[in-house]
């Protein structure tokens, strides 16, 4: 399963997904958030949802010098904070800029595809769904 952006055109920029992601850990605010909403050059022109795409062969894991990013079943990575030194190379490797920074812990923030944010999206922008490949494999 992975988090999918179903239709960014429905996004109103409310950032409720961003608050949900940090609240998942018991905090208010947005300091631990792995999904970000940005305007595409002024809110009137629409919004983009920046979040991990759950790469099956993730470039971020390849550049980690400490092997702190472990491949996740279903795509993407899981962070082992005990190994992470906070070097930030993973952020540079992510071409969609979906690795955010926890300045309180000095570690990267990467989506774990739990779907908590999607439960709160009021406008059907996000969903937790099986990858298309998974669906087709299951059908075989």
């Amino acid at each position: 399963m992975r988090l999918s952006v179903i239709d960014a055109e429905r996004c109103t920029g409310c950032q409720i997904c961003m608050f949900a992601c940090t609240r998942r850990l018991g905090y208010a605010g947005m300091g631990k958030t792995a999904i970000h909403i940005k305007s595409v050059g002024g809110m009137e022109h629409g919004l983009s949802v920046v979040v991990c795409r759950a790469c099956e062969d993730p470039p971020c894991a390849k550049v980690c010098p400490e092997d702190a990013l472990v491949l996740r079943k279903g795509g993407g990575v899981l962070l082992d904070p005990s190994k992470c030194t906070g070097c930030g190379l993973c952020r540079q490797a992510c071409i969609v800029s979906a690795i955010f920074w926890d300045k309180e812990a000095e570690k990267p923030i990467i989506c774990v595809h739990c779907g908590y944010c999607a439960k709160y999206c009021p406008h059907g922008v996000l969903a937790l769904e099986e990858r298309r490949e998974e669906v087709s494999n299951a059908a075989k």
Binding site: R23, G31, E44
Partner: protein
């Protein structure tokens, strides 16, 4: 409040000395929560009675509250300043991303004093102030373009708010606004002119952090309760579907939509400028303030052909709401929905308050009809109800202050009527041009008795529609109702919760939400704090020239049939005298 909550950090900025510092003000945030409650204290501390509103030392206060970043619909910033428009309390609220950005920046309030020598803007990142040059942005024709350039120059996309003025603010029009995220406004009472007087083009605020709550499990449960109430509420659905513009047709049908300077309360073309019409034909996008599941902001896409070349178009995204449709539509007799959108866009890019601008032009039109103002006064411009071209030229003339007449009109209808006559149809209350509710005595008393002369102070228009249609009540009782509502709203605007969510944030729920933020109060203590805040605002007003006995009522109010009619000036005066007795003296 919770220990170490960054909310209690107040960022002080002195533009003259280019200095900034942070002070912990738990004394204020602990007692008054934030928003209006804290802002009135900071205003009173920094703006002694008699200070000129546009003096360099006059403060701008921006305050947010404890529920920002914690719960849905906590989305407002309260601005306070001395109003250059009325000379007393300037208070204006806006959403967008402003409130959450301030809270995420690690501060609860900003106090700006002093003035720039050259145009500048202020960038506040993680609670620290940086002074930036804005020479090149000054005088730029569109405030939207200025916003875009600042956006390109600053980091933290998606986690920031850009509050800026247009040319109207630069030119000190006393009803110039400050807009945020292009489409939300600190609209009323002229904060744009205060920015302009300081040569302050914009304030950018950004930051990100986690916030502690009193009890993690209880917090998440309460969050779900509030969120479920918000997404399932019929009121919220109404604001999502058609937005505030939904009210155009119903109010017109009842006779409460001010039309052609309140010469009528029903507009024959209401359907053409209704929320339904705009949604079906022009709605291009909905937007939300940060942490709001409703998304009431409606943006029209207006596609217009160029006249000089075939198949050449421009598409403009224009925010519409009930109030600008009233002020720049029915109030001016404009029945073409595209012309109304174009005029709104002009007002947006110039940085004028839409309501004051519309009411001023409506007064000027009637004054021309009656011969009080001539084309010689207006520099050859002819204003006629229903003719959009004159109004597009008019808002530009107000902004550029092109001659004596337009300069005076740029100070409001009361100033203009004092010079040219026509006070009986100068539709301002307490010095502030009226909002779009010709509903009856509660509406008009609400404008006069409200601390910021806004329909949102006490929702008198709702009392007219829901209660007084069954018959008038004693004037004193009506004044009491208005004051009770305004007193409670001090809590919402101190927390700072959107008034559209007032049905969700009941006193009972408010106490529980406050507990999550570390405030443990009883209902009685909450009511007492509300009263303290309400009285502090009136103390500031009274110390700065406001007087209940100075309130004037244009006769037009009594002449044009409203939703509720049959009241007279004596009735209104009894209500005002009762309120004066309650508010002009300390609590018994």
């Amino acid at each position: 409040m919770l220990p170490n909550d960054p909310l209690a950090n107040v960022l002080y900025v002195d533009l003259t000395k280019k200095r900034s510092w942070v002070e912990r003000r738990e004394d204020l945030f602990g007692k008054y929560f934030g928003g209006a409650g804290v802002a009135i204290q900071l205003l009173t501390e920094n703006c002694p009675a008699g200070m000129e509103p546009l003096a360099p030392e006059a403060p701008i206060v921006l305050a947010t509250g404890p529920l920002e970043g914690l719960f849905p619909l906590g989305s407002k910033t309260v601005a306070m300043f001395k109003s250059p428009h009325t000379g007393n309390l300037g208070e204006s609220h806006a959403g967008g991303r402003s409130a959450v950005a301030i809270r995420m920046s690690g501060i609860g309030a900003i106090v700006i004093t002093g003035a720039n020598t050259n145009p500048g803007y202020l960038s506040i990142e993680e609670g620290k102030a940086y002074f930036r040059d804005a020479t090149t942005l000054w005088g730029m024709s569109s405030s939207v373009t200025a916003g875009r350039i600042i956006r390109q120059n600053e980091s933290s996309a998606g986690l920031r708010s850009i509050m800026r003025i247009g040319r109207a603010g630069e030119n000190l029009v006393t009803y110039a606004d400050v807009s945020t995220e292009t489409y939300r406004h600190f609209g009323r009472l002229g904060m744009g002119a205060v920015f302009g007087s300081k040569k302050l083009k914009a304030v950018v605020v950004s930051g990100n952090r986690t916030l502690e709550v009193a009890d993690k499990v209880a917090y998440r449960a309460l969050y779900d309760e509030i969120n479920t109430a918000a997404v399932s509420s019929p009121v919220m659905k109404k604001y999502h579907d058609l937005g505030t513009a939904e009210n155009i047709q119903p109010l017109s049908a009842l006779g409460g939509l001010p039309t052609r300077n309140v010469q009528a309360g029903c507009f024959e073309s209401a359907e053409a400028i209704s929320g339904e019409h705009y949604a079906e034909h022009y709605l291009g996008r909905r937007l939300a303030c940060s942490h709001c599941p409703v998304a009431c902001i409606h943006i029209a896409a207006l596609r217009e052909p160029y006249q000089d070349e075939a198949y050449y178009y421009k598409t403009t995204m224009i925010s519409y709401d009930y109030e600008p449709i009233y002020a720049l539509g029915s109030m001016l007799g404009l029945s073409n929905p595209e012309q109304v959108l174009s005029l709104m866009n002009e007002v947006e890019t110039l940085g004028l308050d839409a309501m004051s601008a519309g009411v001023c032009l409506a007064w000027a039109t009637e004054a021309m009809e009656k011969g009080l103002v001539t084309e010689q006064d207006t520099g050859g411009l002819k204003l006629e109800f229903g003719k959009a071209d004159g109004y597009v030229a008019g808002v530009e003339a107000i902004t550029s202050r092109s001659n004596e007449f337009w300069k005076i009109l740029g100070r409001g209808v009361d100033a203009a009527a004092a010079r040219y006559g026509g006070a009986d149809f100068a539709m301002a209350f307490g010095g502030n041009e009226m909002p779009g509710y010709h509903t009856g005595p509660a509406g008009y008393l609400g404008f006069m008795l409200g601390a910021r002369h806004s329909h949102l102070d006490n929702a008198g228009y709702a009392i007219d529609q829901k209660e007084l249609t069954k018959g008038l009540i004693p004037a004193e009782q009506l004044a009491q109702k208005l004051m009770d509502e305004e007193r409670w709203r001090q809590v919402l605007s101190s927390l700072t919760v959107c008034f559209f969510a007032r049905g969700i944030y009941t006193p009972e729920l408010t106490l529980r939400a406050l507990a999550a933020a570390g405030y443990n109060l009883t209902a009685e203590q909450l009511a007492e704090t509300a009263d303290d805040i309400y009285r502090a605002k009136f103390a500031f007003k009274l110390a700065n020239g406001f007087g209940f006995d100075k309130l004037t009522i244009p006769q037009r109010v009594f002449e044009t049939p409203a939703v509720v009619s049959g009241f007279d000036e004596a009735y209104m005066r009894r209500a005002i005298a009762f309120a004066a007795g309650q508010l002009a003296s300390p609590r018994a």
